[in-house]
Amino acid sequence: SQKIEQNSEALNIQEGKTATLTCNYTNYSPAYLQWYRQDPGRGPVFLLLIRENEKEKRKERLKVTFDTTLKQSLFHITASQPADSATYLCALSRSSGTYKYIFGTGTRLKVLA
């Protein structure tokens, strides 16, 4: 069955360092991969989308890579700040057929001052 895996353990890093979060998937061929941020008690907020024919996407301090051979996406936050502390979710969708996304369980990031 389709499966998306994100590190279930929280990731703690020091302020100023680069945080790297991983999203692995199996039994799935996504055409689109998205990353969302979710703060406690709130709905997810869209951050970045990357398509299967794109290797890398950047937005300010954020960078996403997408390796369809490894079936993996990496999400990087450079020069991390305590305000970046949140749970980060990845979501996958196919290019055709029903228009649905499947979500990973998310990784909780804590940036220590």
Partner: protein
């Protein structure tokens, strides 16, 4: 724009009761979704709609019903509440594929407790 709004924010139901979770968006999005999120779990798609009058099942539709009579509203109905439906429910909307970046805009969520 208010974006995606959901009511109520929190509700306690007794087993067997029914209720409707309301969702509305003012962005003129065709696509709308209902997800549930259990503690430590990802979002699970319950139902989705690609336009008024068109709905389809997601990954976990059992125990729920939806309707989409207008572009703006997408209510989720629980007919016979069960403890397994205790969760946080999120509604989301987006533009159709090909009409810009596929951002899903999420509402603030409804926390439901079934006792």
């Amino acid at each position: 724009n208010a974006g995606v709004t959901q009511t109520p924010k929190f509700r306690i139901l007794k087993i067997g009761q029914s209720m409707t979770l309301q969702c509305a968006q003012d962005m003129n999005h065709n696509y709308m979704y209902w997800y549930r999120q259990d503690p430590g779990m990802g979002l699970k798609l319950i139902y989705y709609s690609v336009g008024a009058g068109i709905t389809d099942k997601g990954e976990v539709p059992n125990g729920y019903n939806v309707s989409r009579s207008t572009t703006e509203d997408f209510p989720l109905r629980l007919e016979l509440a069960a403890p397994s439906q205790t969760s946080v429910y999120f509604c989301a909307s987006s533009r159709p594929r090909g009409e810009g970046v596929e951002t899903q805009y999420f509402g603030p969520g409804t926390r439901l407790l079934v006792l």
